[in-house]
Amino acid sequence: MADKSIKKIEVKNLKKSFGELEVLKDISTDVYKGEVVVVIGPSGSGKSTFLRCLNKLESVTGGSIIVNGVDITSKKIDINKVRENIGMVFQHFNLFNNLNILDNLTLAPTQLKKCSKEEARKRAKIMLSKVGLEDKAESYPNQLSGGQKQRVAIARALCMEPDIMLFDEPTSALDPEMVGEVLQVMKELAADGMTMVIVTHEMGFAREVADRVLFMDGGYIVEEGTPEEVLLNPKEPRTIDFLNKVL
């Protein structure tokens, strides 16, 4: 559950444009320690861009984002250090195709000298068993199913021992029968107290796991609140319209 005394992410008046196109117009929100925030909204509403700004995969046009007390929009900070504490899971998994699963998990921790090779391998094996794939350590990404790849991707992010996890539509590229296994891993992570920001179309998951739901449209957060408030009793016409279409 969220600890309202510690802010992990503070977003203030965030703006982001791609050339002429203004994708994020004015976003402000805070994410607390241990909170699970689910971002929903129609495609093109800016949810993925918003998420990618949180670890600066997209540079912002205006406003500020403070992660663990560090303003990541400042040019002076070392963004790589900040990213070590923010895990990210992508829609298309993005496992390193040239490495086997174990090396996928140990590459960043060893390269960044967070720990020795031995320790990294030990931790990688623990993480793999956590996502139920300890027998796949020697496999290559193209030998796994989509669901398995995504679970490996989550394990890879966890090997850096982040305290925030970002999920960018983690189940959108999966066959329906594989969605459950990935959501299960995410539920366990949430239960462990991980701070999570999740962009998803899985409304059932949002209702079950989210502490707070943000509904985005047209570059703004249109409505936010508990899952009951936003998903069951939406007030804004745009939210009602969107939910009618997807539910």
């Binding site: 670890n55 995969l57 790589n80 250090k81 900040v82 990213r83 070590e84 923010i86 895990g87 990210m88 992508f90 298309h92 993005n94 496992l95 390193f96 195709n97 040239n98 490495l99 590459l107 960043a108 390269q111 960044l112 290559y140 193209n142 991707a153 890879r156 992010a157 850096m160």
Partner: protein
């Protein structure tokens, strides 16, 4: 024909050796030039992109024979006479190596640039999201995947460069073609001489492309 082989065989083989030496030297430096300008071409920096593009365009836009004359005669003249105060003189081997390295390097830069761009952007993003630097991500994730797609084109470029050494006969480097010209002048047996030289190139290049195929297969094991 047998007479040419018995009398000039050693001479031609030595010349072939020089051809291979020149090609290897040229390729060696071309790899660095290609990697340097290839990476400049994919960096998120307009200035670097433009510099890389200009290099490639200039070298690709000039015939190698002109480049050879320019490096061998033009550059020393520029430093020694136009600017003055220098006394630079390049051996034919040095000038030839520079020419091949520049020429092949420009094509390699394009091969490397295209190879890097063929790797899904998500690979770089995933590596960066874990906190790895651009350089680490490039070395450990993107380049290993890019190189695999580049290999067939690389082999093709190597073969072209090996054949391009013959152009450097014009600056007097005693490689195979240059030597063969002398053999022909001494014997007047032009058909036999050029047939032998043709077969010599053919053998070397066939060996090269066959072993490259084996290498390509080995690297793709398990993928």
């Amino acid at each position: 024909m047998l007479k040419i082989i018995s009398v000039y065989g050693t001479l031609l083989l030595t010349a072939l050796g020089r051809t291979l030496l020149l090609a290897l030297l040229g390729l060696f430096f071309a790899c660095f030039i290609g990697l340097f300008f290839g990476i400049m071409g994919v960096l998120k920096n307009r200035v670097c992109n433009v510099i890389a593009q200009i290099f490639v365009d200039v070298i690709r836009g000039v015939p190698m024979i002109v480049l050879a004359f320019f490096v061998y005669f033009g550059m020393p003249y520029f430093f020694n006479t136009i600017i003055g105060g220098f006394s630079i003189s390049l051996s034919a081997l040095q000038a030839g190596t520079i020419c091949l390295a520049l020429n092949c390097g420009a094509y390699m830069a394009e091969i490397i640039r295209a190879g890097i761009l063929s790797v899904d952007i998500g690979q770089m993003e995933a590596a960066r999201s874990l906190g790895m630097t651009y350089g680490m991500a490039m070395r450990k994730v993107v380049l290993p995947q890019a190189i695999k797609t580049m290999i067939p084109t690389f082999i093709n470029q190597f073969i072209i460069t090996l054949k391009d050494t013959s152009i450097l006969s014009v600056i007097g480097f005693p490689e195979l073609v240059n030597t063969a010209k002398n053999v022909q002048a001494n014997t007047f047996m032009s058909f036999q001489t050029w047939a032998i030289v043709g077969v010599m190139y053919l053998i070397v290049i066939t060996i090269l492309s066959r072993s490259a195929k084996v290498l390509e297969r080995r690297l793709n094991v398990g993928r």
